[in-house]
């Protein structure tokens, strides 16, 4: 997807302006509530008309104030998954799913309803009224409904906000599998850094009514580390587990990690707080921690009384947070070999 935006919009006392040019499949729109994320989404979808400027998606001009171009929402082929799903309450799940599909010209339909029903596990819900669905089911139907219009771009407006923690991580695998299977570009709106890191590759940072920066998601995650009382969370993508005594052994790059928690997917995402990792100068003979990884220090970065250590563990990277005193005692410097000790119970399963 190639998206070129240069727009201005005044809404009461709120001024919004955006000026960016991006290329990518999974882009995040990150910023606090009230910063203008949703305004930008409405402008892109055609639900709000910019005061001036232009919007171009791939080679199609969606809006051009000077030339008087303003495609109505139904001609933009931009799908929107709203925060509150907005399923049509007078229709069954099936009719909701097919609402957009029936209105999509045959030559644009390259996704079959059957495959969506299968991927999103909706078969048992088809004949139900939408008022009886749970929060997670509603979002799945809303997502399916939007994807069936075979859009050129999908906007998701905080689709996970309002769902409880557990449900969130149940939905995200669906999102990931749908977007990788059908290869639809995604613009994901959220104020949650964790969601951003799980769903997107690069982000636009929106603050106080304008798009401030554009960067890789991981870069954003590491930049927040400098703020006081913020810690960094490592996201580890582990392969399928094998039993290891009464624990589980997961492949991670070219090493294996021992965890207490079991997961049954091909790819499992776990979080690991940077403060839960201990560093040793030499290999300790015996410790209660089940994982002892030989790593090389790539980079050291000190802020106040915290040091961020970037480690290279085989083909993967790990970020550890320690205090300056430890750094001096361990004589840490770039290129030095250390051993990282992680308890089997320190990992928390996300999805």
């Amino acid at each position: 997807m190639q998206l070129a935006v240069s727009v201005r919009k005044k809404l009461g006392s709120f001024n919004f302006d955006a000026e960016f040019d991006l290329a990518g499949q999974r882009v995040g729109l990150f910023g606090p509530s009230g910063s203008g994320k949703s305004t930008l989404m409405y402008l892109l979808a055609g639900l709000l008309k910019p005061d001036s400027g232009s919007i171009r998606l791939d080679d199609i001009v969606l809006f051009d104030g000077q030339r008087g171009v303003n495609l109505p929402p139904e001609q933009r082929r931009i799908g929107v998954v709203f925060q509150h799903a907005h399923l049509f309450p007078h229709m069954s799940v099936r009719r909701n799913l097919l609402y957009g599909w029936r209105r999509t010209p045959a030559q644009n339909r390259h996704i079959e309803p059957e495959s969506i029903v299968e991927v999103l596990h909706l078969a048992h819900l088809l004949d139900r009224g939408v008022n009886l669905l749970s929060g997670g089911e509603r979002q799945r139907v809303a997502l399916g409904r939007t994807i069936l219009t075979c859009p050129r771009l999908i906007l998701m407006d905080e689709p996970l906000t309002g769902l409880d923690e557990e449900l969130k991580f149940q939905i995200m695998p669906y999102l990931n599998s749908v977007f990788s299977k059908f290869d639809i570009p995604l613009l994901f709106i959220s104020h949650s850094l964790l969601e951003m890191r799980l769903m997107t590759e690069q982000v636009l940072v929106v603050e106080q009514g304008s798009v401030k920066r554009q960067m890789a998601t991981e870069e954003l995650a590491q930049s927040t580390w400098a703020a006081p009382r913020q810690s960094y969370v490592n996201l580890l993508r582990l392969g399928p587990p094998e039993p290891h005594g009464d624990l589980w052994s997961y492949p991670w790059g070219d090493v294996r990690l021992i965890l207490t928690e079991h997961a049954d997917n091909q790819e499992n995402v776990f979080e690991l707080d940077a403060r839960e990792i201990l560093l040793f100068k030499r290999h300790p003979e015996a410790t209660s921690a089940r994982n002892l990884l030989s790593c090389t220090v790539r980079k050291l970065f000190t802020v106040g009384n915290r040091v961020r250590v970037e480690l290279q563990c085989g083909s993967r990277q790990l970020i550890v947070q320690i205090v300056p005193e430890s750094m001096r005692e361990l004589e840490l410097e770039e290129g030095r070999e250390v051993v990282a000790a992680i308890k089997a119970s320190a990992f928390r399963r996300l999805m």
């Binding site: 055609g46 929402p73 139904e74 929107v80 049509f88 609402y99 999509t104």
Partner: protein, 226 residues
């Protein structure tokens, strides 16, 4: 005590005809006007709103008289209709027009409230799914305000059953042609010894109104269940 003359049966039948015709003919127009008031930004909206609501506050007799002026042989519309050999005054058409005009504000007010209470997000969602503005209106907004449309129709139907003032002026009181239940009762009460007949018709009127209420209650319940 329950005595109904053949002419009473005519009156009951006529009342039904007039109320049904007035309601069914007005509903599409009512939906259109409600749409204009809710979804568009046309100039003079408050004037349209005033004109629509005027029959609600004007005495029905005044409306009847204005309609008579308008539809009379020398009236603005009447003289034009005469060229096509259509006569409105003292006919069933006149009774239907009188009922429609008097009941119209009730219909529009109800539909409008219903449409305003439909979350605009549904319409936006429909637009992003590829529906044009009209498509979204007919497949989302209108069905979601269905209950309000039905409530408005019921109100209007009941109002038409009871219409008296405008009807007697525009359509007269001709048994078998324009004499609806209220007009028949009026005639009985002004005839010596007609009290019992008037009372029987009153009873019919009460039963009919009650049935309308029951049907509207049941229908709105079944709409709720959906």
């Amino acid at each position: 005590m329950f005595l109904l003359q053949p002419s009473d049966l005519d009156a009951i039948q006529l009342s039904f005809k007039v109320a049904c015709a007035a309601t069914l003919l007005s509903t599409p127009v009512g939906i259109g006007v409600a749409y204009l008031l809710v979804h568009t930004r046309i100039p003079g909206k408050s004037l349209i709103e005033g004109a629509v609501n005027l029959p609600l506050v004007l005495p029905p007799v005044v409306i009847g008289y204005l309609l008579l002026v308008l539809f009379g042989r020398r009236g603005l519309i009447g003289s034009w209709l005469l060229e096509y050999n259509i006569q409105v005054i003292f006919t069933l058409t006149g009774a239907i027009i009188a009922s429609a005009v008097v009941g119209f504000p009730l219909l529009v007010r109800s539909i409008r409230l219903g449409m305003e209470s439909v979350d605009p997000s549904y319409r936006r969602a429909a637009r992003t799914l590829g529906a044009s503005g009209w498509d979204a209106f007919f497949t989302v907004t209108l069905p979601l305000s269905g209950k309000a449309v039905f409530a408005g129709m019921t109100l209007m139907f009941a109002r038409s059953l009871g219409e008296f003032g405008a009807t007697i002026i525009l359509a007269g009181n001709i048994p078998g042609v324009t004499q609806t239940i209220p007009l028949a009762i009026y005639e009985y009460t002004s005839t010596p010894g007609g009290d019992r007949m008037a009372l029987s018709l009153c009873l019919v009127s009460i039963v009919l109104s009650f049935i309308v209420l029951l049907i509207s209650g049941a229908a709105s319940k079944s709409l709720d269940r959906k």
